[in-house]
Amino acid sequence: MRVPKSERILAYVILITMASLVLAPVLAGSITAFKPQIIWVSSPPTWIFEPTLENFEFVFFTRKGWLYLRNSLIISIGSVALALILGVPAAYAFARFRFRGSKALMQWLISLRMIPPIVVGLPFYAMFLNLERTFNIGLRDTYPGLIITYQTFLLPLVIWMMRGYFADLPAAMEESAMVEGYTRLGALLRVVLPVVWPGIVATAILNFIFAWNEFFLALILAGNRTSTLPMTAGTYIVRTRVEWGNLFAVNLIIMAPVIVLTIILRQQLVKGLTFGILE
């Protein structure tokens, strides 16, 4: 596509302005993460200093950040894996078969995405409490507890995104494989999955980012054993002061994987989010 030069320049100006507005605070904060404690807050702010990793060391080791990082990873990867295992086959079924109520079910799924987390979090808490008392099944402050709860938000996203990818493929593709000697599952694994693979990756990343950033449900349902990184960020804002350097160090640790993932898989992400039309 050819775009006139003037328009292209205009587009860049707008994009750079918007990017600066969004990124400036993030950048300023990220710099603070590398400042020694004495100049966390100085007026005017100090920009020239010898960068240090002491803030990271503090939040990572002294305040057990590595533990929360591990929790976050386990919960995020676990939720995404479960959501994909359940959601991808469901999406395929929605794309290929019409059954009683399939349309209503899809709409109900999307409505789940619009519910504020608190509406989900408190009932889950009550449910977990009852399970504990009645059946002695403990889910509060456990990895499975959070992973199950996150499905409320991840599953609809997986199903909606993946259904789009499947629906775009001609049914004749797997039907051909079925005539050629494979079961439907075999056809799905051998010919359909390789084609929708970029879509699965994009879906996984989006879901990972959601689970990774999730704060509210974790606050309600996680505890000492399963605290996630975003939950601990708040602990650096104490009554008397804010530990800016430490706070931003945690923030950077939270942001890092999201940024890295997005950069590495940028192309697949764009393809996934635009359903391949921007190829």
């Binding site: 004749a172 039907e175 051909s176 050629e180 000697g181």
Partner: protein, 373 residues
Amino acid sequence: MKVVLKDLLKRFTNSDRAAVNTINLVIEAGELAVLLGPSGCGKTTTLRMIAGLEEPDSGRITINKRDITDLAPKDRRVAMVFQNFSMYPTMNVYDNIAFPLHAIKLGRKEIDETVREVARLVNIDHLLQRSVRQVSGGEAQRVALARSMVRRPEVFLMDEPLSNLDAKLRVQLRTEIKRLHQETSATFIFVTHDQEEAMTLGDKIIVMKDGDIQQAGTPHRVFFAPENAFVANFVGTPSMNLLPGAVQKTASGAYRLQLPGFDLALPARFNDGLNNLRGDQVIWGIRPEAIRLAAETGENCVSGVVELVEALGSRDLIFARVEDQLFRVIVDALDSTAVGAPCHLRFDGAQMHLFDADSERSLLAEQTTAGTG
């Protein structure tokens, strides 16, 4: 492999009309049968039921006396070429052709030999390492053909495999399919809505409409002895001239046909059919090729005016108006006339068709009894 469809019925849930309406069909071993009919008549549905991709509501399907009605597609030992799908996009040509072989346990060497042999057969052996993006539509269709052949099935199902190709390529691939059929001596069931394709390819043509089989027979019979007005109209381009008329028995026992503006003597071969006709209303048919331009008027001749002339190459298609009726007439281009000229149309009695106006069935007795011939 002989394929037999017995009372096959398929009704889709959201439709009140049967997509395939209790059809019976016998396709002999080694035959190339063509399912022909207008869009939506149930050709694809029939084929998909044979392949096992669609479950019939009732009826049985047997291949060589083996009842396959309840088998999974993979266990039916049939191959299928689809209309809108040719290549698995993530595999190159070689892997596409090898794909069905991976479903059965075969050695690497055997797979390689088979792939190359089949690729040679459809002239794509120089493309084996190409990806989907690097092959043309015609080549992709050949890949689909090769993939269908690679397991040496005894029944081939082809759903309009050529309809997405340009005219020249279509004719070329059509010839190759015919050749493949002769070389493999397998049973082919080929779907098309192109009646010329059906004529040139088929040992047997099965004409369908609204889920029913209208006629099944050799291309010759379907063309020259249509069993009903629909087949008469659908098969042949330009299509047959069909006119409503009324018959009268003369004192001699022969029949005359009264058409708008003129009347004709009917050949004696219709007598049996006409003697059994209820009422006097019929549909009279004559192919454009069976009408001659005569120098002067006479028996079975009518005068009209040339309204339009279309060049078809060595022949011309003339539209001649007689009263309210436009006749399609095919003439040798050298014998053609000018637009606006008066003309005399002579109808060849031996090539006339007559159908009951109610049932639209042919009034030739020998044809009305023919089931699947």
